[in-house]
Amino acid sequence: MKRTNELIVALAVMAVIIVVTWGIYAVGDNMPGGVTPFSKDVYQLHNVILAVVTVIGVLVFTAMFTSIIVHRKSKGQEPAKFTHSTAAEITWTAIPVLILVIMAIPATGVLIDMEETGGADINIKVTGYQWLWQYEYLEDEIGFYSTLDRDSNAARQINSGVDVHTVENYLLEVDKRLIVPTDTKIRFLLTSGDVIHSWWVPELGWKRDAIPGMVNEAWTLIEEEGIYRGQCAELCGKDHGFMPIVVEAVSPSEYRQWVADRKAEQAAEAGDEPSEVQQITAADEPAHNADQG
């Protein structure tokens, strides 16, 4: 009698929990799958681990709420007297261990893959500064600074009076995008000129810290042309929220064209090329010091 009671309630509870969980996912399971082989691997891992914890959660909460509903004093339940069960305790130690081992295997595989930075066709040095990024294409010897675009910058000032909804790609647009070719293994060499920053484009599947005096490596291979936006992900001072990253992936031929153009441009402006970061900051962000307290 009692056991059937528990079972019926449990089934009902589980149904409710599953509906709620489904609702939670429907609202916004919105992590991007990305456009590189391992951004997809990472997405996969995310989904698997999410599924694992969801299943565990459904079971645990079903047991708990069943108990809450059935085993009430107000229903005249007499408390049982048991205080332990070695078998149960061994089971719920062993099963999680097993699940974790199973999770660890693919995670290890993906991680090893991500660390494999050798054999890249293009090397791009990324240097973080307060509060902009510098990109240098090591093979082609071209480079430039990339900073928050003017519209966003104007709108983001306190009480700017601009409705930020009217600004296209508010806070996620730069003056000069990082142009890269698709289907090409690109190695990033990340460092910083002042404090720690972190270079993150969600669609590429990783973020990596840019640390002064250290060079970190990471790689990517973008499979689809497109514009991918990200932001600095490590607190780096007052304008940490305002140093976006925009990667534009183009076909290899377009890329070569762009490199050629850029080289010519660079040759033309040689001499007065901005080597001083401060110069850039001052020129491109006139209102920079306005909100310095």
Binding site: G28, F38, D41, L45, I49, V53, G57, V60, F61, A63, M64, S67, I68, H71, R72, K73, S74, P79, A80, K81, F82, T83, H84, S85, E89, T93, P96, L100, M103, A104, A107, T108, L111, M114, E115, R156, N159, V162, V164, N169, Y170, L171, V195, I196, S198, W200, P202, W206, K207, G213, M214, E217, Q231, A233, E234, L235, G237, H240, G241, G293
Partner: protein, 537 residues
């Protein structure tokens, strides 16, 4: 180890200062416990006010209320105040009140030092908060104070570091006192394995505190010398490494998060048996689980820094170790549910908060497990997903447990029952609003919103607004909490000595309110007073 511990009366009632002096000079564990708890409540309100500033600025995209520097000061201060001012002192306060009562001791082992541990805190916090009014403002580099950013701060950094030193001294002395009380002052018959779990978890927490607070002191001292005395611990040009700070900091920082959750585990393990009217399931495995969590917490620190570019082997090691921590944590949750199973439950406010704890803390544990998977953490790290994770474990974990404990023991402290109806309203209001506040932050993080930013792209607007609304509602609910406590302190229905019909343990054998001096003669302890022991059946 349990010596005869009795207290002489005439010694005690010779002189008893009143008014302010009573509180400043007190050596009594109950009075000092009260001081800690009141301090914690004030800090909770202060830190909460800062959180309101943060959520108000994030209510809609664009900058409206504060400039980015001040926003960063708010996030930094909010965390420091909540961690070192609200959560840790609350647990120390509960330990002060309850540990001697639970083990049958006349007071804490080192009563004078007990006074000092507390009375350092207000000064430390004055020093910390004062920096907000300096020309350069307060610290703005996040509570983790990563160099080189933290060294850019103007005048504040020296004061902040000294404030942290003071808090460290206070915590270490508090921890020593609690450990020594537990090891040296137990009543005859109170063997280690008869101790209530709250006492057990605090014993282990105390150990963690003594082991890691000095390491934090060392880390910030190196910051200080790098900033003012020309050392290069964290400067690559001189052969140091900024990442080294993060290693030392998180060697403290990870155990620190367990310092903030183990006593919570203890409280929940006290409350569940009482309101299930059934002994705690798997007492011994609870003790072992706590001990193994504490041990593991020393070897997982770098899971906070998977993205700094550690060698592969390092990332793998810290991933595996972190995943292992989920196992003893799981054991705890399963044991709690088995405690409830086939019990005879009733749902007074402490029980509601305890149940809320189990559900919501478990959700925080799940996101923790997700964060442990290194490649996935490369996406989650430093986003609102992490913010959601640690607020689930800290707010609906630690803070809910503290509130559960306060409701549970309040009648013993004041002698009056709190208003049960208001208590239940407080619970439901908090439990609902806190989910409105933090659950959407998971979505924000997964969608790509970094943490610690004062303004965001418009696609994050909806969830931020929902989160802010939840935040304001949750903040408001806590005013009700204060009212309920204030009311119960002033009067109401008289509490019985046992207070809760299912309660077992020494603390329920003394009168309500507990007189200033209890267990002047040590009680005799056997299995009949401990509901916790699984040697019972």
């Amino acid at each position: 180890m349990s010596y005869e511990t009795t207290l002489s009366h005439d010694e005690h009632h010779a002189e008893h200062p009143t008014g302010l002096k009573r509180w400043v000079f007190t050596t009594n564990h109950k009075e000092i416990g009260t001081l800690y708890l009141i301090f914690s409540l004030i800090a909770f309100m202060l830190g909460g006010a800062m959180a309101m500033v943060i959520r108000a600025e994030l209510f809609i995209p664009g900058l409206q209320l504060v400039n980015p520097e001040f926003f960063n000061q708010m996030t930094t201060m909010h965390a420091l105040v909540m961690i070192f001012g609200a959560v840790m002192p609350a647990f120390v306060g509960l330990a002060n009140w309850m540990v001697p009562l639970m083990i049958g001791a006349p007071d804490m082992a080192l009563p004078r030092m007990n006074n000092w541990s507390f009375w350092i805190l207000p000064f430390a916090f004055f020093l910390l908060l004062m920096t907000l009014f300096l020309p350069s403002g307060g610290p703005a580099s996040g509570w983790t104070l990563y160099p080189p950013l933290s060294l850019q701060g103007g005048t504040n950094i020296a004061f902040v570091i000294f404030a942290i030193h003071l808090m460290g001294i206070s915590s270490i002395m508090g921890a020593i006192n609690i450990i020594v009380t537990i090891l040296n002052m137990r009543a005859p018959g109170m063997t280690l394995l008869r101790m209530p779990l709250f006492v057990w978890t605090w014993l282990i927490t105390g150990f963690l505190l003594i082991a890691v607070m000095p390491v934090l002191a060392g880390a910030v001292t190196m910051l200080l010398t790098d900033r003012f005395f020309g050392t290069s611990f964290f400067n690559a040009a001189g052969g140091g490494d900024p990442v080294m700070y993060q290693h030392i900091f998180w060697f403290f920082g990870h155990p620190e998060v367990y310092i903030m959750i183990l006593p919570a585990f203890g409280i929940i393990s006290e409350i569940l048996p009482t309101f299930s009217r059934k002994p705690l399931f798997g007492y011994t495995s609870m003790v072992y689980a706590t001990a193994s969590i504490a041990f593991l917490s020393f070897i997982v620190w770098a899971h906070h820094m998977f993205t700094v570019g550690m060698p592969l082997g390092g990332n793998l090691f810290f991933m595996y170790a972190t995943m292992v921590i989920a196992v003893p944590t799981g054991v705890k949750v399963f044991n709690w549910i088995s405690t409830m199973w086939r019990g005879s439950m009733s749902f007074e406010t402490p029980m509601l908060f305890a149940l809320g704890f189990i559900v919501l803390f478990t959700i925080g544990g799940f996101s923790g497990l997700m964060l442990a998977i290194v490649p996935a953490d490369f996406q989650y790290h430093d986003t609102y997903f992490v913010v959601a994770h640690f607020h689930y474990v800290l707010v609906t974990g630690s803070v809910f447990a503290i509130m559960a404990g306060v409701y549970y023991w309040l009648p013993k402290w004041t002698g009056y029952m709190y208003n049960e109806k208001l208590g239940k309203i407080h619970f439901w209001w908090s439990a609902i609003s806190v989910n409105v506040l933090f659950f959407p932050q998971h979505y924000l993080g997964l969608a790509g919103m970094p943490r610690r930013i004062p303004d965001y792209a418009v696609q994050f607007a909806e969830f931020n607004m929902i989160s802010s609304i939840g935040g304001f509602a949750f903040g408001l609910a806590q005013l009700l909490f204060i009212y309920i406590i204030w009311q119960a302190a002033r009067g109401g229905e008289r509490a019985t000595d046992q207070v809760w019909d299912g309660a077992r343990g020494l603390e329920w054998t003394v009168p309500s309110p507990a007189p200033l001096h209890t267990f002047d003669t040590p009680p005799k302890v056997d299995d009949s007073v401990t509901v916790h022991s699984d040697t019972l059946a």
